[in-house]
Amino acid sequence: MKQVLEGSHAVAEAVRLARVNVISAYPITPQTHIVERLSDFCADGRLDARFLRVESEHSALAALIGASSTGVRTFTATSSQGLALMHELLHWASGARLPIVMAEVNRALAPGWNIWTDQTDSLAQRDTGWMQLYCETGQEVLDTTLQAYWLAETVNLPVMVILDAFFLSHTYEPVDIPSQEQVNGFLPDYQPRFQLDTRNPCAFNQLAPPNVYMEMRHNIQQAMDQVLSRFGQMEDGFGVVFGRRYGEVEPLQCDDAQIILVTSGTITSTSRALQQQLRADGERVGLLKIKLFRPFPADAVRRILGGAQKVAVIDRNCSFGAGGIFAQEVRAALCNLSARPLVFSYIAGLGGRDVTLDVLKLIYRHTKDCEHCPDDSIWMGLHEVHHAT
């Protein structure tokens, strides 16, 4: 059933359809519409879940670690500072191998205070052992949230479903809300592989000395590795029920492209328009949307980008001292190829600044014209700064 929905509400619908048992969250703009809608669902009985209105994001995730360890399906949502506050427990959730799903609305980190979109918050958590799935549309948000449970429960790792602040979280789009039967057909009831159980009393998460810690970490890496193949399996199943598939990456006319733009999140949509225009102008340009960031789909990236001459990675994030984070990952994926494209790194749209068609055109033009590819990231559209004395 199609409805015009906010991106936040698409998340909430998916959580409802996923029959989540325990939700715990702490409000932060721009995540609030997700938890408000879920509160409504819990209040009016459309969702039979316990909603723990905890006193911080840290506690929100801690509560879910407790609930998930007790063998139920869980959900939380946060953004920016909230995610940063959760950092310690992000490790805890993955180390404990808990299939927790989180909606993370990309928002810039303070100071100064900034509530607008920026991916640095989620990308700063890339080493925490969580899968990261970046979304572009309301429909993708809903679908990805359902897919996240499938993946999480299959490999026992937590998942972040990531959406841009306002551009996606607060934007209304038509979204097809599947029926409960459809969802049940794709996502079975959660069958925990372990849980706190008085009939089988075990201690969890205890001291792991050097003789076992490394093997436990390797086990997490193995699970992450498996996600790349499981992703396709999951999408096969998803496609059968819903007739849609996204791919861990989505290449657009990349096969013959000389220059390929690499994007994630909502910038992708604008880039699609640019790519269509440029193709109409006869430019051999492709677009690669990266949806799955962790684990990083390096094989796919190599396969798709390996034949291009130049690649322009547009990052709405920055790892200070290193530059755009997607660009680093792309460069790393390509570095062992004997023939590889030049990889340009562009930083744009931090703190919610618009990345318009014009900005993207500039990026394309610069990539095309520039013979020498700089190592550093190129900051797009920087204003002149008047320093106070």
């Binding site: 506690s59 670690i65 360890s69």
Partner: protein, 295 residues
């Protein structure tokens, strides 16, 4: 003649608690009263080690180690999951040290209690960060040496009154207990188990290593803390009804202090000052309990 307490233990030998560990005694008592229909959340504390390294467990109940500051929150989640599963029988408890309760875990505890989460929070109080090597906490008493309050910089701040902080939440049940008074302790645990909502037990658990006392007086020192009114035994129901469980026999605090290396630097006048503080706190408690002041 035998104390009237349940006899079945849910703990194994072979744990790595220090000789004379009061926290080990506390756990043993609490589990006797709780029974095995219990799930325990264990934030970082001495017990994170005592409970055993992979693949061992000291306890015969399901146990989840948690991040330091998450005792209140993680238990909320476990409880929520059990509720969803329809398990009303299993009791969820948090077992935290004073650092994880008074300091870093206070927010999560306060949040959980404000929400009146249905669980029991046990704080075994050894009055400093003992697992990390005797650093001061907000539970460290006035006058104490720790490795972060060494030499002349002994702690000159009073111990936080954690029970009163919880009472301010109108918690359904808050009580102090001591490893030296097992009957009282076990009764309180059983009572707490029978109450719905948040319950808090503050258990005084001596630490021979950190307090610089011989291990054999570990229980005796805990008893003296009660006898001297340094750690009064009382319970508060619904944030209002105070009951004092032990009336003192007039021991002076210096009797308690002089047995412990952590206080050996204190002068007679320091001790007099501490005596006055203890009396002041005691009178405050008597007033709350509606007990007429003596003398």
């Amino acid at each position: 003649m035998q104390l009237n307490v349940p006899d079945r233990d849910y703990m194994h030998s072979g744990h790595v608690g220090c000789p004379g560990c009061g926290a080990a005694v506390a756990m043993k008592f609490v589990l006797r009263a709780l029974g095995n229909k219990t799930i325990m959340v264990l934030p970082a504390c001495c017990w994170s080690i005592i409970a055993g390294p992979y693949p061992q467990s000291t306890l015969q109940i399901p146990l989840i180690h948690s991040a330091f500051e998450t005792g209140g929150a993680m238990a909320s989640g476990v409880r929520a999951a059990l509720d969803v599963k329809g398990d009303k029988e299993t009791c969820v408890v948090t077992w935290a040290g004073d650092g994880g309760t008074f300091d870093i875990g206070f927010q999560a505890l306060s949040g959980a209690v404000e929400r009146n989460e249905d669980f029991i929070y046990f704080c075994y109080d050894n009055e400093a960060y003992m697992n990390t090597g005797i650093q001061r906490s907000s539970s460290t008493p006035y006058g104490a040496w720790t490795t972060t309050t060494p030499g002349r910089d002994w702690k000159r701040m009073r111990k936080k009154n954690i029970v009163e902080a919880l009472v301010a939440h109108r918690i359904p049940y808050a009580a102090t207990a001591s490893i030296a008074y097992p009957e009282d302790l076990l009764r309180k645990v059983s009572k707490a188990r029978s109450i719905k909502g948040s319950r808090f037990l503050h258990i005084f658990a001596s630490c021979p290593t950190g307090w610089r006392i011989p291990s054999e007086i570990s229980v005796k020192i805990a008893r003296m803390a009660v006898q001297t009114n340094i750690f009064p035994l009382y319970e508060v129901e619904n944030g209002r009804k105070y009951t004092i469980n032990f009336m003192p026999k007039g021991y002076l605090v210096k009797e308690y202090f002089k047995l412990q290396g952590r206080f050996k630097h204190l002068s007679e006048s320091d001790l007099d000052q501490i005596q006055a503080m203890v009396e002041e706190d005691w009178e405050l408690l008597l007033r709350k309990a509606g007990v007429p002041l003596q003398g």
